[in-house]
Symmetry: C2
Subunit: 392 residues, 2 copies
């Protein structure tokens, strides 16, 4: 949420919703830049800081928005009141900075709703068993909204963002990208984790678990957004829903590794011990008792990963190379489960443009390939066309 | 409190105190400008706003400071933690925006102190019986500090401000003004209410009621500040402690008012009904069955006061005049109780400079006069010299 103008604008939206006989509960984030500034303050005071104090500091932005929005709603004749995480309460575990919601007390919310009041809840935060303020981490306000929706068995949870829905691909790259009317939770999860930064993975997981129908929509337009829902709620399902890409990738190749049991475990165990997430993994067929292993990590982890393998894994190899000028491009669609040939269309489309595939990984509903970063736009546009996703 | 540098500086001060075997409890205000910005936000959203939401919004600044200061203390090896008003809790009444503290729960504070922890309390706020956040109004952080000191029976309550103590007069006007070592609660109350903006009246009243010894000192210097304490704790007491002035005055004169019972009640009753505070009042001896009434109000209330008298008081007069170019100058000292001639010294000193006195009012420990504003500096300096207060 932005500045005061934006609060007034959101109040207008809520007024329209509340006037159309809907019972409305609002969950708000901090005004733009506020939380980042508070996070910076903590880092400037001390590089290492007590996460409980960090949470007390960074949770304040949402409380301010909740109060201001309540005032704006009252100014429009709507009975509204703000709620902090500790007032409801929203009970979480003790994992400060990335707490998980354990229970949302709905007595007060239901009381408010039954007397026609609009509750405005400060997102992103809760209270621990020690009565300390906790925060939920990145995308925490979306998570709060979904959890509140689940607790109240809400008909729908509308997530207002700065985009007007979920697109078949990044409109900045693919001018022919289309807004999707509906998408399944599973697809949205792949979209979220693969770089389409509309919704955080965690809030989608929570929505899927509790079958909360989400609508991703813009606070700047009245357009209908994209519904994120169960597969069975989508009548006409396209095979492929979208093409995504992620530049946050780096590739490491170990050549001439001993081909014996336990080698992979040593490599990836050492990386896991250093909290390095490994994504795609390929191991070639062994020749002469030795093999090559290629895998990808987040770009920010590349240096650390190289160090861990060289010094801590206890695995020898003839040569280790790494490359951070790679991109992961993915084709996503639940329809893949029942359609053959999806991957083949991808490989052919890329081959036609002369794009070399470095690594491939697949799941039930996606195919991802690692390619040289310079081909990003070309690959994404070609695949968008190849799967018939272009807007007419 | 100012920016992050200031937080670090305050952490250094607290470390020094805590290292000298003192048990320390800290009460913090918001960083400079933060609360004013939040107040502005509320006003911008709506001229009339729910005081409960206002409190939720404007109370956030102190929580941020408490968290950041705790981090800064931990960074210096001191065990510290932040406390919000609702966590302790600090229980107040329901008067949002100007709530009164009813109880401070000290169990948690004493637990923390007994294990050597430094509690850092967010000032200015508490929690109402309805579990809503309340704020204490202007100077609320000082009030919290005094109330916490009283609840814990603290040896002393140090108030860190941007001045290094209480002076015999405003050093910007009187270059010879001296810092006082000690001053009584009663004198400090007169100083506070008469325009020396060091401490809010309410925190001094509370300190007096609970016999909490205050020290007003600067966070920018190591100098000893001014102790505010009981009269009996001051051995060598000067007759006059200080000369103060207040420009926030306006004078209204009603000429030719009927001299009959109930007229004054009508005038001042009507003003009270409109929440206008009347300060000095003079009524001349009646001539020919009519009299003149002169009184002062805050400058901001002048227009409203004129309107109330003309249209709502039901009192007729021959003529009504008002003047907002006046200033109230006061001589303050508990020694006046036992010394005669204090007022006479004042009147003579002003007469010697040709300054005309418009209204006089006195109490046990002060004499105030209303004079033309243009004589402010001359009057204050002359009185400072006349009472022997000038530094050598």
């Amino acid at each position: 949420m932005g500045d005061l103008e934006r609060i007034n604008h959101v109040a207008d939206i809520i007024k329209a919703e509340a006037s159309s006989r809907h019972k409305v509960v609002v969950v708000v984030s901090a005004m733009s830049g506020v939380t980042n500034r508070l996070v910076d303050n903590c880092h400037q005071i001390s590089a290492i800081h007590d996460p409980r104090e960090y949470d007390a500091v960074v949770s304040s932005g949402e409380i301010v928005t909740a109060g201001l929005l309540s005032i704006a709603l009252q100014d429009r004749g709507i009975d509204a009141r703000s709620w902090t995480g500790w007032q409801l309460p929203i009970e979480t575990d003790r994992s400060h900075g990335r707490a998980r919601i354990e229970n949302i007390e709905t007595i007060e919310l239901n009381n408010a709703l039954s007397k026609g009041q609009v509750p405005v809840i400060a997102g992103f935060q809760g209270i621990s068993p020690d009565k300390r303020i906790t925060t939920l981490g990145r995308g925490g306000t979306d998570t709060t909204a979904v959890a509140v929706s689940a607790a109240l068995r809400a008909e729908r949870c509308d997530i207002y963002t700065d985009v007007d829905g979920v697109y078949t691909s990044d409109p900045r790259i693919v001018s022919a990208a289309r807004k999707l009317d509906r998408i399944t939770y599973e697809e949205m999860l792949e979209m979220a984790s693969l770089g389409a930064k509309v919704l955080q993975t965690r809030s989608v997981e929570l929505a899927m678990k509790h079958r909360v129908t989400l609508q991703v929509r813009s606070s700047f337009s009245e357009n209908v957004g994209t519904l994120v829902c169960d597969e069975e709620d989508i009548v006409e399902k396209e095979t492929v829903s979208g093409i995504t890409y992620s530049r946050d990738e780096a590739k490491i190749t170990l050549m001439g590794v001993d081909d014996r049991p336990g080698v992979a475990a040593s490599v990836f165990g050492a990386l896991a011990d250093s909290n390095i997430n490994v994504d795609m993994i390929v191991q070639n067929v062994a020749e002469d008792g030795s093999t090559d292993i290629t895998f990808t990590v987040a770009r920010a982890d590349l240096e650390l990963a190289n160090d861990v393998i060289a010094n801590k894994s206890g695995v020898g190899c003839r040569e280790m190379t790494s490359d951070s000028s790679v991109v992961k491009v993915s084709v996503i669609g639940v329809g893949m489960r029942s359609h053959a040939g999806i991957a083949q269309t991808m490989f052919r489309a890329l081959a036609d443009k002369g794009i070399n595939i470095q690594v491939i990984s697949t799941s039930e509903i996606k195919v991802s390939v690692l390619i040289s970063e310079e081909y990003t736009e070309l690959a994404v546009r070609s695949l968008h066309t190849a799967y018939g996703l272009d807007a007419e």
